[in-house]
C-alpha cells in the first residue's frame, strides 16, 4: 500500500514540473507564430515606409518667358533652329527672377540643376506644338531635379545623402517657402514607362507588359489546365501512361521556376526563333509554369462533385461527354476559377524565368502589343531595386505596393468567388 501511495505521491510531485513543461511548450508555439506574424508585419511596414514617398512628386512652377533672343530661336517651325536652340536659358532666367543676386556662370549652372533634365525638352515640345507662344510668358510646371526631390522629401532621413550645394539648399528652402516648389501626387508613376531619371520613371509600361503577359498565360493555361484535369479525372484509363502523366504533373509543380526560364530560352527562343523580351514568350513560359497548379486544383474541384449527379445524368441517357460538359464541369467551375486565379496571381509575381528570356531590358515605351518588347511589374521592381540611383528605391517600393495591391485583390476575388459560388453537397 505504501508503495502505491508513494507512487501517487511521485506523480503528484512531478505534476508541477510537467505542467510547467506543458506551459513552456505552449509558449514555444505562441512565440513561433509571433515571429512569423512579426516578420510579415515588418516586411509590410518596411515596404510602406520606404515606398510611400514614391507616390509623391516634386515640381517647380515657373513663369517662363520664351524669349527668342536668349533661346537663339526665331522660327520654331525650322527643324534646324529647334535642334540648335537653347531651351535651358529661359528656365534659368525664370529662376533668376527669384534670385536676382545669382550671377555668373557657376551660379547659373547650379540654378539650372534645380529642374529635371527633361525640363528643356518640355519647353521644346511646347514651342514645337504652338509656335505662337514664342516671346510670351507661360506658367509651366516642371519636375524638379532628382537631387532636389531627395532633399525635399528626405532631408531628415539618414538613409539618403543630399547632393545639393549649400547655396542650392538655401534656394530650395526659399522656393519651398514661396510655394514655387511643391509636392503633389505622383501621376508620372502611373502614366509613363521606365526612365534613367527616377522623377521621370513610371510603372505604366510594366503594368501594361504584365497585362499582355498575363493575357497570354490565361488564354493558354486556363483551357489547357481544365481540359487536362477533366481528362485525368473522367476519361483517363487506369494504366501506366496515366500514372506517368500524373507523376509528371506533381513533379512539375515543384520544379524551380528558373528552370522554366531555361526551357523558354532553349525552346521558344532558340528552337522556334521567337523574339526575345516579348510578352508572348513570357506568357508561354508562365503558362507552362502555372499549368500544374491549375490542373491540381481543378482536379480537386471535379472530385468534389458528388457521383449522384453523374449517375442521375447517365440515368436519363446522357453520354459520358454530356455528363461531363453539361453537369460536372459547370458544377466544378467555381473551384476551377479559384484555383486559376491563385495560379495567375503566382504568375503575376514571378520574376526569375522572365530574366532568362530577356524581359529585363531597359524599355521606355509603353508596349503596344503581344510582340513588342516589354518588361513586367516584378522585373521592373528588380531593376529599380538593383539600381544605384537613390531615387529608384522609393519607386521600387511603390511598385511593390502596386504589385501587392494587384495580388491581394486577385486573392480576395478568389476567396469571394469561392464563398459566393461554392456548394456544399
Amino acid at each position: 500500500m505504501t508503495d502505491q501511495r508513494s507512487q501517487a505521491e511521485l506523480v503528484r510531485q512531478s505534476l508541477k514540473r510537467r505542467y510547467r513543461k506543458e506551459r513552456r511548450f505552449r509558449l514555444y508555439g505562441i512565440v513561433a507564430i509571433s515571429i512569423a506574424l512579426a516578420s510579415l508585419f515588418i516586411l509590410f511596414a518596411d515596404i510602406i515606409g520606404k515606398g510611400h514617398s514614391g507616390f509623391v512628386k516634386t515640381t517647380i512652377t515657373l513663369d517662363v518667358t520664351l524669349d527668342s533672343e536668349i533661346m537663339y530661336l526665331d522660327d520654331p517651325t525650322d527643324k534646324d533652329q529647334i535642334s540648335m536652340a537653347d531651351f535651358v536659358a529661359p528656365i534659368v532666367a525664370a529662376l533668376q527672377d527669384h534670385f536676382p543676386d545669382a550671377e555668373g556662370r557657376a551660379a547659373r549652372r547650379e540654378l539650372g540643376r534645380l529642374v529635371g533634365s527633361y525640363a528643356a525638352s518640355d519647353i521644346r515640345d511646347l514651342i514645337e506644338a504652338n509656335p505662337d507662344l514664342l516671346n510670351t510668358t507661360q506658367t509651366i510646371e516642371f519636375l524638379a531635379h532628382d537631387t532636389v526631390s531627395v532633399y525635399v522629401k528626405h532631408a531628415d532621413d539618414p538613409g539618403y545623402s543630399i547632393r545639393l550645394s549649400e547655396q542650392q539648399q538655401m534656394w530650395v528652402d526659399e522656393l519651398l517657402e514661396k510655394g514655387v516648389i511643391n509636392t503633389s501626387f505622383n501621376d508620372v508613376l502611373f502614366s509613363r514607362g521606365d526612365s534613367r531619371e527616377p522623377g521621370n520613371a513610371g510603372i505604366l509600361g510594366a503594368i501594361v507588359g504584365s497585362l499582355f503577359t498575363m493575357l497570354v498565360t490565361l488564354a493558354i493555361s486556363f483551357p489547357v489546365g481544365i481540359a487536362a484535369a477533366v481528362y485525368l479525372e473522367e476519361f483517363a484509363p487506369q494504366n501506366r501512361l496515366t500514372d506517368f502523366i500524373e507523376v509528371n504533373i506533381n513533379n512539375l509543380a515543384a520544379v524551380p521556376s528558373i528552370i522554366f526560364g531555361l526551357l523558354g530560352l532553349a525552346v521558344f527562343i532558340g528552337l522556334f526563333g521567337m523574339p526575345r523580351s516579348v510578352p508572348v514568350v513570357g506568357g508561354l513560359v508562365l503558362a507552362l509554369m502555372t499549368l500544374p497548379t491549375i490542373i491540381i486544383s481543378s482536379r480537386a474541384a471535379i472530385k468534389s462533385v458528388p457521383p449522384s449527379i453523374r449517375e442521375a445524368a447517365e440515368g436519363i441517357g446522357a453520354s459520358k461527354m454530356q455528363v461531363v460538359l453539361h453537369h460536372v464541369v459547370p458544377l466544378a467551375m467555381p473551384g476551377m476559377l479559384t484555383g486559376s486565379i491563385i495560379g495567375m496571381a503566382q504568375a503575376l509575381g514571378e520574376t526569375a524565368p522572365l530574366l532568362l528570356i530577356g524581359m529585363v531590358a531597359f524599355i521606355v515605351d509603353v508596349p503596344d502589343g503581344f510582340f513588342s518588347s516589354a518588361t513586367v511589374l516584378p522585373v521592373q521592381i528588380y531593376l529599380w531595386a538593383s539600381s544605384s540611383e537613390q531615387g529608384f528605391v522609393e519607386l521600387a517600393s511603390a511598385g511593390i505596393m502596386v504589385l501587392l495591391a494587384f495580388m491581394i485583390s486577385m486573392n480576395a476575388l478568389a476567396i469571394w468567388l469561392r464563398k459566393r459560388l461554392e456548394r456544399r453537397w
Partner: protein
C-alpha cells in the same frame, strides 16, 4: 498577315462554319419530319464543322509560325556571298541582327556593306512572301475542312460520336502537355550540357573548387580560360538553404503544432490565412527586403559586436528565405499532424499524459515521416529559389561556410550568366545549362523522395 491576326480570323471562320452546318442540318432534317430523325442533334453537326474548320488550320498555323523565323534566317544566311559566310553561330546571330535592324529601318542601309543591305531586302521580301503563303494556306485549309464537314451533314451519320471522340483526344493532348513540358526541360538542358562537357571535362565541373566563368574576348587574353568548378556554388547554395531551413523548420513546425493542437477555432481561422500570406508574397519583394533592409541591418549589427560582415551576406538571404518557406513547412506539417488518427491522441491523453507529452511522444513520432517529407519539399524550394539570392547573396563565388560572408548559388549563376545578350556557343553560356541540369536533377530527386515518403505515410493511416 500576322499570326496574331490570323488566329482570330480562323476562330471567326469556325463560328461561321458552325452556323452554316447548324442551318444545313435543320434543312436536311425538315423534309424528314424534324430533327428527331437525325442521328445526332444539330448542335453536333455544327460543332463537328467548327472543329474540322479550326483544328487543321490551327495546327498548320502553329507549325508555320514556329518554324518561319528559323527557315527564313537560314535562307538569308545562305544567300550571303560565300566569302562573308559567318564562321560561328555567334557571328551568324550578329550578322542576322544587323540584317534585321536594316530591314526594320533602325539602321541606315547606307552605313552597312552592300551584301548586308541586299540580305535585308531579301529578308523583307521573304517575310512578305511567307506571310502571304501562310494566310492563303491557312484559310484554304479552314475552308476545305468546313466544306468537308458540310458534305457530311446527313441524317444517317452520328456526328455526336465523332465530336466526342475528337474532344476526348483534345483533352488527352492537354493532359500530355505536362509530359511534353518535362521532355522539353530535359532536352533543352541536356543538349547544351553535353556541348558544355565537350569543352570542360565533367570531373573538373563536379570537383573543381573555383568558379570564375569569364571567357576571353580575344584568344590571347590573360586568364583566357575560365574556371568551372561547381563546389563553391554548391556550398553557397547549401549554406543559404541550411540557414533558411534552420529558421523555417522550428518556426513552421511549432506554429503548426500550436495551431492544430492548442489554438481555438477563431485564432486558427485568422492566423492561418495570415501565415499563408507569407507564401503569396512575390519572391522579388523578399529579395528587395533582404537586400535593402535585412542585409544592412546584419552588417551594422555585426560591426557593433566587432565582426566583419559583407554587405551581401549569406545570412541575410538565408533568413529571408527562411521566412518565405515558413508557411510551406507549417501547412505541410499541419496536414500530417491532422492525419494522425484521433484514437492515438485520445489513448495517450487517457493514460494521463499532458497535451505536450502526447505531442512529443505519440503524435510527433507518428507524423515524423510526413514531416520529413515536408522538410525535403521545403529544401527543394530553398535550393531552387532565385530572386532572393540574386538580389541579396551576391556574385562572388567564395568557398566558405561563414554566414556573414558573401556567397553565390547555382540559381544566381544561371540567372547572371544568361541575362543580356549572349553567344550561344561559349563555355560561359553553356555552363548555365549544365548548372540548370544539376539543379533540375537535385530538386527532382528531392521531390520524388519526399512525395514517396509522404504517400507511404498516408497509406499507413488511411
Amino acid at each position: 498577315m500576322q499570326t496574331a491576326n490570323l488566329l482570330p480570323l480562323v476562330l471567326v471562320l469556325a463560328v461561321v462554319a458552325y452556323g452554316l452546318a447548324f442551318m444545313r442540318s435543320r434543312a436536311v432534317a425538315a423534309p424528314l419530319g424534324g430533327i428527331r430523325n437525325l442521328k445526332a442533334l444539330p448542335f453536333y453537326y455544327a460543332a463537328r464543322a467548327a472543329l474540322w474548320c479550326a483544328i487543321p488550320a490551327l495546327i498548320v498555323l502553329a507549325a508555320w509560325a514556329g518554324f518561319e523565323g528559323k527557315v527564313i534566317q537560314g535562307i538569308v544566311i545562305a544567300s550571303l556571298p560565300q566569302d562573308v559566310w559567318p564562321e560561328s553561330p555567334g557571328q551568324a546571330s550578329l550578322v542576322l541582327s544587323q540584317i534585321s535592324n536594316v530591314a526594320a529601318g533602325k539602321l541606315n542601309p547606307e552605313f552597312v556593306p552592300d551584301h548586308i543591305a541586299g540580305a535585308a531586302g531579301l529578308l523583307e521580301n521573304l517575310r512578305a512572301q511567307s506571310g502571304t503563303f501562310k494566310t492563303i494556306l491557312v484559310l484554304l485549309i479552314a475552308a476545305l475542312g468546313a466544306a468537308f464537314a458540310w458534305t457530311r451533314v446527313a441524317p444517317h451519320i452520328n456526328a455526336r460520336e465523332s465530336v466526342e471522340r475528337t474532344l476526348r483526344r483534345i483533352f488527352f493532348v492537354c493532359a500530355a502537355v505536362a509530359v511534353l513540358t518535362t521532355v522539353g526541360i530535359v532536352f533543352s538542358v541536356i543538349f547544351e550540357t553535353v556541348r558544355f562537357f565537350g569543352k570542360v571535362p565533367i570531373t573538373e565541373f563536379l570537383f573543381g573548387t573555383s568558379w570564375s566563368p569569364q571567357t576571353a574576348l580575344r584568344a590571347d587574353q590573360v586568364g583566357a580560360e575560365g574556371a568551372f568548378g561547381i563546389i563553391p556554388l554548391f556550398t553557397g547554395t547549401l549554406l543559404i538553404s541550411a540557414i533558411a531551413l534552420l529558421v523555417a523548420v522550428p518556426i513552421g513546425l511549432l506554429s503548426a503544432i500550436y495551431l492544430s493542437e492548442y489554438a481555438s477555432k477563431r485564432v486558427r481561422s485568422t492566423v492561418k490565412p495570415l501565415l499563408e500570406m507569407l507564401a503569396g508574397v512575390p519572391t522579388v519583394v523578399y529579395g528587395f527586403f533582404a537586400a535593402l533592409t535585412v542585409a544592412p541591418f546584419i552588417r551594422d549589427l555585426a560591426e557593433l559586436v566587432g565582426l566583419e560582415a559583407s554587405s551581401q551576406s549569406a545570412l541575410a538571404a538565408g533568413l529571408v528565405m527562411g521566412i518565405m518557406i515558413i508557411p510551406f513547412v507549417s501547412s505541410l506539417s499541419d496536414d500530417v499532424i491532422n492525419a494522425v488518427p484521433q484514437t492515438l491522441r485520445d489513448g495517450s491523453l487517457a493514460l494521463g499524459a499532458t497535451q505536450s507529452e502526447t505531442m512529443k511522444n505519440v503524435i510527433f513520432p507518428a507524423a515524423l515521416p510526413g514531416i520529413i517529407g515536408g522538410i525535403l519539399l521545403a529544401a527543394s524550394r530553398a535550393i531552387g529559389e532565385t530572386m532572393i539570392v540574386v538580389m541579396a547573396a551576391g556574385l562572388a563565388a567564395n568557398l566558405t561556410v561563414n554566414p556573414l560572408d558573401s556567397v553565390t548559388t547555382v540559381t544566381v549563376q544561371i540567372a547572371t550568366l544568361l541575362v543580356g545578350d549572349q553567344e550561344f556557343d561559349s563555355a560561359k553560356t553553356l555552363s548555365a545549362f549544365a548548372l540548370g541540369m544539376m539543379l533540375f536533377i537535385v530538386t527532382l530527386l528531392l521531390n520524388v523522395v519526399a512525395l514517396k515518403i509522404v504517400r507511404k505515410y498516408r497509406e499507413q493511416y488511411d
